[in-house]
């Protein structure tokens, strides 16, 4: 728009006009004087614009200092609470068995670490010697550039152990036995992306700027602030069950998308041509969080895989598993022995537990 067509409003909105009127800027002043000479018909509009501009005042609203302190106190209290909760242990065991297993493994790790230290020390000495010799014998070689590698955080619940993890953004992940999540430390500015192998329940902290995405192969689940369960074991369909809020499930390979509402679930695989929603049985899906193992006409291979992860054992079949064998049952905080006993009647097998190995023989 040419300035000759300016209305009163346009004049006021022109930063040059404002600096002429308010700061009496000489450079712009020359321009506007010239403009007045050329467009006398605009004089009354300019007069009105100036009038409005110099009368425009604003009420300054300040806070009383007591209110200022009040808000700050509220902020500090919140911050103190946050630092307390985030400094709590990263992995919280769900029950005594988990705790024992976890410490057992940590202990083994420590032993291994001590051994590693010894090896490292020897290597260090050798390397130091090598460096010394190299330095004296060879001309200085060019230093390779150090690439910045984003730190990847990995949490793994070993078989037989369930864990709770609080992420940096405040989201909580309940990790089922034999499952693993990994993500870039601190996430990124735009995304909270994590990869899941196995099963986990997510309580996502709200963050409108960075969506929370759980990647399971080609299937991804995208959430803003919700609670949902994702199960993705090798050889099984990825199953997403939404408890609260809203999530978007995508199959990247087939470019499919489906929005879930609370109570709805999806069992998907990357080869699917469509994503079909269904209602899920929340008691069954979320049972693992209540130490409850539910089999609802589950095929025997799936049930045995569940038992293996649940108790951290290996099931060894001494003869072939009957085809089309399904098992049902609900076991609340039961021992492996009791569950096997229960299943052995209906499925007609005998078993023996030897340490971490369970031998199963079907009665023919």
């Amino acid at each position: 728009m040419s300035k000759a067509d300016y209305s009163v409003e346009d004049f006021i909105l022109d930063p040059d006009f404002r600096s002429w009127i308010l700061q009496n800027d000489r450079q712009t002043g020359a321009y506007w004087e010239d403009f007045l000479g050329k467009h006398p018909e605009k004089i009354s509009d300019i007069k009105q614009a100036r009038h409005l501009l110099i009368h425009l005042s604003k009420k300054k609203t300040g806070l009383p200092s007591t209110a200022k302190e009040e808000i700050w106190t509220a902020i500090s209290e919140q911050l103190d609470r946050q630092t307390q909760s985030s400094s709590a242990a990263k992995v919280v065991s769900l029950d005594s068995w988990s705790a024992i297993q976890q410490y057992n493994q940590e202990n083994a790790r420590k032993k291994q670490a001590a051994w590693r230290w010894k090896v490292a020390a020897v290597f260090f000495l050798l390397a130091g010697l090598g460096y010394f010799l190299g330095k004296t014998l060879m001309p200085e070689a060019e230093k390779p550039a150090v690439a910045v590698v984003p730190e990847i955080e990995v949490f793994q619940a070993p078989p037989g152990v369930k864990s709770t993890i609080t992420l940096e953004d405040g989201s909580i992940v309940f990790l089922n036995s034999g499952s693993k999540i990994s993500y870039t430390k601190g996430f990124t500015d735009t995304l909270r992306l994590l990869t899941l192998e196995g099963e986990a329940y997510f309580e996502v902290a709200h963050d409108s700027i960075r969506p929370f995405i759980v990647q399971t192969g080609a299937i991804s689940t995208r959430a803003l602030g919700t609670e949902f369960n994702v199960s993705s074991f090798p050889g099984e369909r990825v199953s997403v069950s939404l408890v609260k809020g809203e999530v978007l499930v995508r199959n990247e390979q087939a470019a499919l998308e489906q929005r879930l509402l609370p109570g709805e679930g999806i069992a998907a695989s990357s080869e699917d041509k469509e994503l079909a929603k269904s209602q899920f049985n929340s008691e069954e899906v979320l049972s693992w969080m209540n130490k409850t193992l539910i089999f609802d006409k589950s095929p025997f291979p799936i049930a045995s895989r569940k038992l293996e992860a649940w108790f951290g054992v290996e099931l060894i079949f001494q003869n072939s598993v009957p085809k089309d064998l399904h098992v049902s049952g609900k076991f609340i905080d039961e021992s492996l022995e009791n569950i096997l006993k229960g299943l052995s009647y209906s499925s007609r097998f005998s078993y023996s537990i030897e340490g971490k190995k369970v031998y199963i023989q079907f009665n023919l």
Binding site: L13, Q48, I54, K60, E70, L79
Partner: protein
Amino acid sequence: MNPKLQVEQEESVYWLQLKDGDRSALRFFYDSYVDELFGFGMKLSSSENQVKDAIQEVFLDLWKYHSRVSSAVNVRVYLYKCLANQIFKTGKESKKSRIVHQDYVEESTLLVESVESTLINLQVEAHLKVRLSEAVDDLPKRQKAVIDCLFFQDFSYEETAQILNINLRSTYTLAWKALSNLKRHLSKSSSLLVLWCLFF
């Protein structure tokens, strides 16, 4: 040194400290900005409590994401934007909190601040000033916010658009509509003045 530049330098030092997780830096930004943020917030909302809560959220979020904030950022624009987002997000305010409390300090500032201001001030008719400030108060919230950003906070069109999360075009349109409203008020009160003069 240019005082504005000095402020910017001081701020960028504190901003880096904040990135490193220094809580006293958070306090610095709180102290420097809480007053103007509150004033700006009250343009966007009529509930004092909503604005206070929003300010609290802005600083909590700033702390939460302190390690990820970009180091090259205009702190003032950033904080205004966060506050506007926060207030628009909470949106519907409760009717109960609509009572406007009067315990905060109010004073009027005129736009004019140049050497010529004294001269111009002589021509400023007090009643017009009052009328216009009332008219500004009566503007729809978004128009009020645009006027506040552009004329009183010295933000550019780009910065204003960023803060209110709208595009440049809408920023200009909103400002235009607001001024058009004010213009109507001004001519109304001028004609009233003429009538008043005729009678007495």
